[in-house]
Symmetry: C2
Subunit: 203 residues, 2 copies
């Protein structure tokens, strides 16, 4: 079992939990029978931005990317999160859209959380596939991208080499699904237990 | 209704979701009847570190703090997250422990996620109070700090000016609880809906 490189896209106006949920899940997954994290990690998680400059999330957290879309290790998985910043990328950042398209064309497992689905659609990755997005953006994605069948009743839509998930916290579920798919349900359950993800929302 | 300053402590080896869960919830809470986030935010969320240097989370995310323990706005709420890095703070960073103690003494609502509870205990904040922590650290906290009654069956323990929560993802629940307590259940439900926190863990 080799270390899997995961690249999580970050950008100004990225939604914090969209990218931190998957970051958390992947970074805690460890090899079977081992409990000496981080030496036995299954995944190496990278944050990837258009440039090396730090970015500001929704709410103002400042994050320095660990690599750029022009200079990064070969990824097995990329995660495209959502947030208000996706609009600027959709409209004005063709280099980022092209990067997503290149990853998908190179057979990298291409995933999105929340409104990150719009960026996958723009990159042509969702054509002919089922997908999902944040509940408030379902209508918009259907309107702009009739070439994808947008589902509104699943938190995670797995189309093999392309996986999309619903809003914000659903990224946690998607990453657990991926750990289960590639490393087995037992590994995913260990992560779920490690992050005490047995949620009982208080409201 | 005035903007509430929330200070979230970050440090090398902080667990990502421990601090990003509350960051997400607080940063999305908005004033009643408004939908033009972020102009109508209820909370201004700050990341606070011992120094102005960037920190590395568990898994290697690099975050630049927006302020330091020596220079920050007056907080109404502080959040102390957990992670492997808490051990170094517990043992070797008295300035951070003293900062937590000063905040609590100044009547700042003092909260923890996961193993951040150990730092609150070290700062003397949990004496005579009920508390909780990550399930794997319950025994250790009881052993080191018999002056607090550590509960093992709640995700959030609210003792008025001191609130502790269970492991990692429980910080989301704690922050929702706080939004409900201070801004009303309707506001908290809006946030829950915005982050689509209706989780059905896939494993």
């Amino acid at each position: 079992m080799t270390l899997t490189n995961v690249g999580i896209l970050i950008f100004d106006g990225v939604e914090v939990l969209d990218f931190c949920g998957p970051f958390e899940v992947f970074s805690l997954a460890i090899k079977p029978g081992m409990d000496t994290y981080p030496d036995n990690a299954l995944y190496k998680v990278h944050t990837v931005a258009e440039t090396a400059d730090s970015i500001r999330t929704v709410g103002g957290m400042e994050v320095v990317p660990t690599c750029t879309i022009d200079d990064h290790p070969e990824f097995e998985i990329i995660v495209v999160p959502g947030g208000f910043g996706t609009r600027a990328i959709y409209q004005e950042r063709p280099r980022v859209i092209e990067w997503i398209a290149r990853q998908a064309a190179a057979d990298v497992l291409t995933t999105s959380v929340c409104t990150g689905a719009a960026l996958l659609a723009k990159a042509g990755v969702l054509a002919g596939k089922r997908s999902t997005t944040h509940w408030a953006s379902i209508g918009r994605l259907r309107e702009l991208h009739p070439e994808t069948t947008v589902l509104d009743d699943l938190r995670v839509v797995d189309e093999g080499k392309v996986i999309t998930s619903a809003g914000v916290s659903a990224g946690i579920d998607m990453a657990l699904h991926l750990v289960a798919r590639f490393a087995g349900v037992d590994r995913a359950r260990e992560v779920r237990r490690a992050i005490q993800y047995d949620p009982h929302p208080p409201v």
